[in-house]
């Protein structure tokens, strides 16, 4: 089985994240890391590979610096990596992103595509189902548990209204939540071996030059930073803080 795991380089959620006024991520302003959810997606693939015959490809689209996240995936155990990088894709919306990723997946070949349920930066959560539509295959998204077999995939889908048991025939695209798997750490041996694993770099011309033509687009008009919140009243409880808080809430007409 060939499994493609989608990964993304994102600004670290533990630090400040900055947009330019045109709404593009300021990559200089924060540390870039592999999105935590992608490590879980990769773990789902790796744990299948632990006891089954499988080839795992880590795939990302992003600037040159995104090589780092692919190296991390290779160190964790992915067999090869694909990096879609093209200046024409900078600032892509969801439509362009999904089209380019789907074209790269088609080129790589796949039985199963595994993604995180949503990235920590964009939080869109739509790329997996968009990719599935481009590929003409089923999607199962927001899975908290996954069972992979050679012909089909099944799992529990987490929604606002409860859980849903779902399955699909392969090939398919799935996305997993943070409850799906605890990722392993790369071993020293894994890190050393990662350096020799294949990493393909593809541009739009290597995929299909027509993939982006004719698509509607979402375009950012403005991006405005909100004023930072400042601390208000802070009291140390000396036996009466609960009453003081009640007075504050009453004065603010909140009770």
């Amino acid at each position: 089985m060939k499994i493609v795991v989608l990964v993304k380089q994102v600004p670290d959620t533990w630090g400040d994240r900055t947009l330019t006024s045109s709404g593009v991520l300021d990559r200089q302003a924060s540390e870039s890391v592999i999105d935590e959810i992608n490590e879980r997606a990769l773990e789902v693939a790796l744990s299948y590979q632990d006891s089954n015959d499988a080839e795992i490809v880590a795939l990302t689209m992003g600037p040159a610096s995104a090589t780092d996240v692919l190296r991390k995936c290779l160190a964790m155990g992915a067999d090869s990596a694909v990096h879609v990088v093209d200046d024409a894709l900078a600032g892509s919306d969801l439509g362009w992103t999904s089209a380019a990723i789907a074209a790269a997946i088609s080129k790589a070949g796949y039985d199963l595509v595994i993604a995180g349920n949503e990235s920590t930066d964009g939080r869109g959560g739509v790329i997996p189902a968009m990719v599935a539509e481009h590929l003409g295959v089923p999607h199962l998204t927001f899975l908290t548990s996954v069972e992979i077999s050679p012909e089909r995939i099944s799992g529990e889908r987490d929604t606002e209204n409860g859980t849903v048991s779902v399955h699909a025939a392969l090939p398919a695209v799935i996305s997993v939540t943070e409850r799906s798997a605890e990722p392993r750490f790369p071993s020293f041996k894994g890190i050393m071996r990662a350096k020799k694993k294949p990493l393909d770099v593809l541009t739009i011309a290597d995929l299909d030059p027509d993939i982006l033509s004719g698509m509607g687009r979402s375009v950012v008009l403005t991006a405005t930073q909100r004023p930072a919140r400042s601390a208000g009243t802070k009291v140390v409880d000396e036996g009466n803080a609960g009453n003081q808080l009640a007075e504050f809430l009453a004065a603010e007409h909140l009770i």
Partner: protein, 323 residues
């Protein structure tokens, strides 16, 4: 006025999901609100009156016997059919798990522009403009669309107000759905909502508890304060990971984003990932033993103290004021 389509999500027991009201309210500000439902043959009729009460002037019922069997594709086909039949160029869906999946596939099918998680949507010079709150509310971003069709998912609870009730006209069409490219629903386990508390995403007051509560048993303190205030209950990821409460209550970067009038954080340190889910609350109150907890940096009223002594006193004081 142009037709604005809204996907009305319906449970497998025929209940219209809460998001329909908010979406129809948004649609009524843009054009003629049209509710689109995918329903089993004959099941759509019962939905017409309630959708009219929520503001739908037209209800487009797309009938297929696959509606409770196939994942997303009945709704995608319903919207494709409605968009063509009604020449609609704006389609609104909830930013729910189901709504996002449908919006995703629909956008590719219609080669439409897709904007997600809008907290507002308006028309400006003939263009649809969506407003988004990104990076946990640190930025406000406005987006528009190039192309003929705009698809927007709207954050649940983000839009207040209600469309005027209408007696809708009804169009019923039969649709066919391709099972081969669709996931299959085997069983639905609806969350048990035995609680009378408001829904977390839409609540005007939220009381959240963190690791500082110490155990699942002691977490009831959060519930007691929530009930005294008529509030929803939330939790930090640390409290969820420690098993105090269910994952569905997690507020933060990877959980629910809330923007209530009042947010009370009990025993929550306020890691940046938690703040990303609540820092746009109008008023923030924090109670924590640790005077250096980062939550105090954004709290309008902070108390350095023990939640187990401060909160009971607060509940008693609230009781005195309301009785």
């Amino acid at each position: 006025m142009s037709n604005v389509l809204v996907l009305a999500e319906v449970s497998n027991t025929g209940q219209i999901r809460n998001s329909a009201g908010m979406l129809l309210a948004a649609a009524s500000s843009l054009g003629t609100p049209v509710a689109v439902v995918a329903a089993a043959p004959g099941a759509g009729a019962a939905l017409v009156e309630p959708l009219g009460a929520l503001g739908a002037q037209l209800v487009y019922v797309a009938e297929t016997d696959q509606v409770d069997v196939l994942l997303s594709s009945p709704q995608v086909e319903a919207l494709v059919a409605a968009a063509h039949a009604l020449t609609a160029s704006t389609i609104l869906l909830a930013n729910s798990a189901d709504g996002r999946d449908v919006a995703a596939r629909l956008a590719v099918r219609l080669t439409a522009g897709l904007a997600i998680d809008a907290i507002g949507v308006r028309e400006e010079n003939g263009r649809i403009v969506a407003t988004h709150s990104v990076f946990g509310g640190s930025y406000t971003v406005e987006s528009a669309f190039d192309g003929e069709v705009a698809i927007v998912t709207v954050r649940q609870g983000a839009i207040e107000g209600k469309a005027d009730a209408a007696i809708p006209t009804v169009t019923t069409e039969s649709i066919s759905v391709d099972a081969a490219s669709s996931g299959v629903i085997d069983a639905v386990h609806e969350a048990v909502t035995a609680t009378d508390r408001p829904e977390l995403r839409a609540a005007t007051t939220v009381v959240s508890g963190g690791r500082g509560l110490g155990s699942a048993e002691k977490f009831v303190l959060v519930e007691h304060l929530a009930d005294a205030l008529g509030a929803a209950v939330g939790a930090s990821r640390a409290a969820v990971d420690a098993g105090y409460v269910d994952h569905a209550l997690q507020v933060g970067q990877t959980g629910v984003t809330v923007a209530p009038q009042l947010y009370i954080a009990l025993g929550i340190s306020g890691a940046i990932q938690h703040r990303a889910g609540m820092q746009t609350a109008k008023t923030i109150v924090a109670i924590n033993k640790d005077a250096d907890a980062p939550i105090f940096d954004i709290a309008d009223f902070g108390i350095v103290g023990d939640v187990f002594t401060v909160v009971p006193q607060l509940i008693e004081a609230i009781g005195k004021r309301t009785s």
